[in-house]
Symmetry: D2
Subunit: 490 residues, 4 copies
């Protein structure tokens, strides 16, 4: 979800006390929906638990009983937000839910989703994963003509567009509005009698359709289906609107032309290993990336170590292909996520390390091949290499299971601190020196694509913009609309 | 603050989980504002503490530092809402604040005030005491033309009107909007460089202007000035806009014609005894009402007892005039307000009484003259009379320091349950029987008016609509706009 | 409840983080008990609500079902401690409860009561109002011989004494222990099959017996009986143990000689006006004290004002006797108790006053007779006089409805800061100057005693030690045991 | 920590409302201590974060500044207990801390550690990991002679023993008390001037000594040293008391004879993989157990899957040895630990599974070798096998990296529900049928011992009582003291 900035800085400060940090973009969200099931709210809750990794900042569920709409949302993990019996009060047989990415203190209840509002066509709730690149421009226009915004979320822009729609049918107003917005989005809408799912024309953000008994479900990732006992049917198609109502499932395309540009970073890092997205299992892709690394970027080592948790699959692939033993040389403290007390710089300097421990018995005297999924600013990698050396590693060879991350994402992954993307400003060898590795190699984009089954030179139906700088969405007047925000000095 | 009902019923249910009880209107609110003082937020907090009796449901404060706006609001008493250091983060040298009336569970954060939003003219915060009688109609029109409402508060209607204003000046847009709204309102606005106060053309709701050092302050009641050490200057006039900025105080009238119709119920019951409103001290008026009761509606008794806390002044006046001793025959448990655990009906039947105790030693064997300020449904009065009889009172003569309350208030006091106004449907003797009193007498409207210095037959500049049914505001097409809501079955 | 200090200072600091303030003694507590009633826990809760004024620091209830004991206790008001359904889990048909005096941050859960423990004779719970003057010495002895203390409460000393008892009967061990302790105490014990109430041989702390249907109840003040619908039977006698079990009520004396020394300060200030203690109604005594003041210490004034809430009865008595009008010239902010945010000294200096407002309209141009119940350090009185002068009072004549408070209480009322008792070190005229009154007069002890029906020179069965310095309890070796604590420099 | 039961049942119910579940034993705890470091409290906090897996029920830290002791403890995770700035108030340069195992609702603040108390020799704090088998008998004796217990923790028995000690030196009283207690224990004590660590004569529970700059530290597991940047020195020896004071480290043995009987289950399941305990790295042992399984208990499979998280190391070892690919076929939801909302049985039946997801893409059509560390009741294993079959596994061969768990642990691991240890009552084939595996094999005790370097028939210095039934501690009169508790019907 985008934060709107030029005026947003001020708007943001309005709620400064309630916790917005205007200088911090956030990544991703997760959405879930279910239509006509006697346990709609509970199943949405459990589906969101499976998607919690996509957003830990805020959570919410809206339900409808055919006439009235009910909602509860709040800041924090699902377990915090729904700790007091609120689920029981969310009556109704259809529901949508949302989880939002979390950095401590960076959000407000006003921005939590689902958004709910009333229209002439009745109640409407919206949950959104992604980022609208033209939200700022639309917002300025809407405000100029009297629309009153109460959050800094780009999703509210969509709500105002729908609210201004002139059709008698809510669905038609939604369709019209979807044609106006640009960027990456997976959307679920809940009205009195319909559950509606829509995916942007490039398919930048994932969205899947499933079935649980007689009820249809939608979710950002298929792992949520497994959790609630639903069967996966298919991915929602780029540019598609899926309407679920008492007549069943109907599908229409809200744009004539689609150009598939699926986000590879979902598979590389963001999604859960047990999810299948657009036909590719996440763990399987990661393991394959590890095997490709072993083939194309071998390193002289005694043991293979993956940075937990996201690089364990790639490390296992590397070990399998190379025949070098896979070891647990780094252990992650699983309680650290909840610890808001942080060591001071002085304590860090003196060696306090909360998140990861290196295992001396495993590492001591060994040449380590360290597998990680990506390098953002380089500071974490540097710390991990140091940790391994302190534990006695004689050499540390870093292998990254993706190409260098050089360009900001405009479609829902937080890479706001562009100046801080180390690969944007440093050569391979400079990065190696910066992280103090004995050697460093990345995958190339074509190597990455082979894991998805595409050969060199093929027209990849994927978005690799963060690696290549080639963005799939249209620009207006030759410029990114989003860049006006950047020009505004944000 | 009005709740909007025909569609509000649905809108209300959207947030049912967050606590709206659609069937319960609420009374009154309190507002406070201060311009250019180094302790703006703290002083607003203390000013609101003095006004806490006007609203215990929710509280909030917004501040501005000339450029940016900050706000914190929440549900509950001020001490609950500002329990965690939030005041310190409300930087800026100007502030407005709001307290809202409380019935447990009847509100949402979305409805808490001040409302804050951004306009083309910069930040704006609004705090409102009162009720807009044409809010429903305006809301329907606004929604039809694309405005998106996110609360059920009537104050949001005003925000949308201002947001749609076409002047370059925020003040002009506010002025235009004030001409459109109808009903009772005391409003304070805070923009980047101005504190604006406005009072409805009838003066239905109180609002006063004061000065603290070089800084101007506004408040619903003068008791807040006393608390923060400010000097009372004057009441804001009906139909007046007071603009406070770096040039000082400027006053304009936003309507050409005003008809004073000050609410007498503020003095009778609602305001704090130490406040002066429109030139009348509340305690003094109440004591005088007690004296008039003694003169005009004497009763044969041994002791005079007032229902605590609001009828103590009137009882003292009755005792003084009649020469009958004033005694503390009823004691209120001051901790009960915070006790959400209530005795079951079975326990009530067996005699458990939390709120009031009768003092047997005082009452036993005595003929009691019981002074109360009003009778709404009669159930409380009946319970108190019973309490006194159980404690040994041989006779209970009830004297009410106001006329029979027969008509709903449309201007900010909750009397939604019109069918339950006992005086609307019962004769004096029926009420006496209902509450089981030995005798019952009320003041008449002319008697009430003599306490304010007006003689019989004069044109009173007061609203006594709740007693007389004569409402001071215009109707549209011969009908109360508010009645459309009633017709809608609310 | 006493805090134990010489070593307690250290023990106290053990739990410093949990909130003990070692330098602050506390006043009073309230106890309640009920035997064999189907709503034992609820009725105890409601009884404690009526006694909440006696202790706002902590609260707890213990119940027994004949075999097992259940308890919940916590810090804060009853409404805070029992906010989450805990009452329902307190099963059993007999219960005792406790409220403790509160100064923010001055207590720990460990010190909250009832204390519960197991003995060879089964479960035992204790709730205590008062102060044991020999607790320190007993504790030292107990610790030396291996007893392990886990709180700094003097009540735990009693628990250890009972625990070391060598009788097979719990009641006998309690009786033996009561003979050892000295000071003021009202105690309720709950065992598997008995509710036991005991009062110190001087009757320093109040305790009353009542009946609710077939069930017996005990409470610190009779107002709790009124609240739960129980009938008052009689006060527990000084030196008496009342044992309530299935056989009914049995009474024995645990000392041979008693010397009644009832605490007059309960009537003057501490108790609720609707309570009857040892045959005297609190409101009636206070009003009579006001009348005596008017007769013996008349002042030239236009209006009589009482400091709310405790001096309203006395002010009404003064007004009645003198014929001078009783007015509400001071208004107390009833929400202030919950407000932990305090104005800074700078803000106080500039006039911010949260607790009391003077009512200018009432006071301006008047000679005020101000009635208060006592002067402790004088700072509050000085502030109130100033408040009245600021509001326009031309003269302020202070009349105190008790004698000068000169000596510390060792029996349960916090007067630790003896050096700060202004009457201990200042002459009447010095006090008058200090509080800036035009005149100041107190009652004498004989005048005080006439309100209770005793003539000059009679042998008063009351403790007036705080006025006279004549303490009713024995001293050991000519010295107060409590004084060893003082010698220890506490 | 043991719960005391025969009378504990009653004592437990005293605090039933506060959350004791009398029928549920708990496993393990973690302890940490540091002497003379300027960041004592913070480092203890971070050390405990590393040990959080050993106890999630409650946490606490006590500090001392040479004179005064400070403590904070509470229920829940460290992040919950220390969420409000409490660390800053724990002043002093030496500290001990404790984490306790958690089952929701099964604990009280009274039982949380460190326990703190005052003795004639000054302040003392105790933190304890383990279980005292003669605590019940000692408690009965102590109670009979007047000791007053306020918790149901066996650690309080030790406190009373020390409190009754007759030496002038606290250390000597501790030594004497350690000779009296029996069972498994790792203890840290903090007094005004000493940090004392002690380990039971069998070394049943782990305890290690480290150094951070000039300061000594002790911890249950070495992973805590890595986290705070300390260097591991050595394990505390069975039967050893380590005294750390200003003179440095001194060591004495409190028993003449020790018989090493280190708990193998720490390595198999409980400890963190990055810890070294008694010379063995936990991950390395687990991986070796996997290799031994592959050698001795091979299975016909296509992929190897470990149950996350504890069996990943063993699965990697199995895969490495067997050459069969290691795959991530089960994914654990890492947010589930905090989710108190559980699916109903109906929802479970319809397929809702919160904790583990099987990955269909990985598993479908495959013969799975499933590695787990142990089987307790069998229900979890059965569910996992079913999950894999539902995801398309054609065969599931279960291999357990330890021998059958047949006997209760009396030394600190919760296996109270002995009747529910499936291996105690079922044959291998019956268990296989019960969990619906195609094949099932365990390690034997001698195979287990080879991972630690011991050959068949050697005198193992390990406790394998849970597998073999041969308990290392003495019995009294030929009977387990603990069994009296069982006889008592607990």
């Amino acid at each position: 979800m985008e934060r709107l900035y030029d005026r947003g800085l001020e708007a943001g400060r309005v709620d400064a006390v309630e916790g917005i940090e205007a200088d911090q973009l956030h990544e991703e969200c997760g959405v879930f929906g279910i239509f006509r099931h006697s346990n709609a709210a509970e199943l949405t809750y459990f589906g969101l638990v499976a998607l919690q990794h996509r957003g830990q900042e805020a959570a919410g569920i809206a339900t409808v009983d055919g006439t009235k709409m009910y909602r509860h949302r709040g800041l924090g993990l699902l377990s915090d937000v729904f700790s007091g019996g609120q689920l029981k009060e969310l009556i109704g047989d259809s529901a949508i839910g949302h989880v939002r990415y979390s950095t401590a203190g960076s959000n407000t209840v006003e921005n939590a989703q689902p958004l709910t509002f009333t229209t002439h066509q009745g109640n409407l709730a919206i949950a959104h994963n992604g980022n609208l690149v033209n939200a700022h421009k639309l917002r300025v226009d809407l405000e100029k003509t009297g629309s009153l915004f109460q959050s800094t979320s780009d999703t509210e822009v969509l709500a105002h567009l729908i609210s201004r729609g002139e059709h008698d049918s809510l669905l038609e107003n939604i369709e019209d509005s979807l044609k106006v917005i640009r960027g990456g989005f997976a959307l679920v809408f809940l009205s009195n009698h319909q559950l509606i799912a829509a995916r942007d024309p490039n398919g930048l953000r994932p969205l899947a359709l499933g079935k649980l008994g007689d009820s249809y479900v939608v979710a950002s990732e298929s792992c949520a289906f497994e959790t609630v006992g639903a069967a996966f049917i298919r991915d929602v198609k780029p540019g598609e609107i899926v309407v679920i109502d008492e007549k069943g499932v109907q599908s229409t395309m809200f744009v004539k032309q689609v150009k598939r540009a699926l986000c590879t970073f979902e598979h590389i890092y963001f999604a859960r290993p047990d999810s299948d997205i657009d036909g590719y299992n996440v763990h399987a892709i990661r393991k394959q990336l590890g095997r490709i690394l072993a083939e194309q970027h071998s390193a002289p080592g005694d043991i293979v170590i993956g940075v937990p948790d996201s690089s364990i699959s790639a490390a296992a692939g590397y070990a399998e292909k190379s025949g070098i033993p896979f070891e647990m040389g780094l252990v992650k403290n699983k309680y650290i996520a909840r610890t808001f007390i942080q060591p001071s710089q002085e304590m860090r300097d003196s060696g306090v390390r909360l998140k990861l421990n290196a295992v001396r018995t495993v590492v001591d005297g060994k040449r380590v091949i360290l597998i990680d999924d990506s390098i953002v600013r380089g500071t974490t990698s540097r710390r991990i290499v140091q940790l391994l050396r302190d534990a006695g590693a004689t050499e540390v060879h870093v292998r990254i299971s993706s190409p260098p991350y050089r360009h900001p994402c405009h479609y829902g992954i937080d890479t706001s601190s562009k100046g801080q993307l180390i690969a944007a400003t440093h050569s391979l060898d400079e990065i190696r020196q910066e992280i103090d590795a004995d050697s460093l190699e990345y995958l190339t984009v074509p190597e990455l694509m082979t894991a998805f089954g595409y050969g060199r030179g093929e027209d990849y139906p994927f978005c690799n913009a963060c690696f290549s700088g080639q963005y799939p969405t249209e620009t207006s007047g030759g410029k990114w609309e989003i860049e006006t925000l950047q020009e505004a000095g944000v």
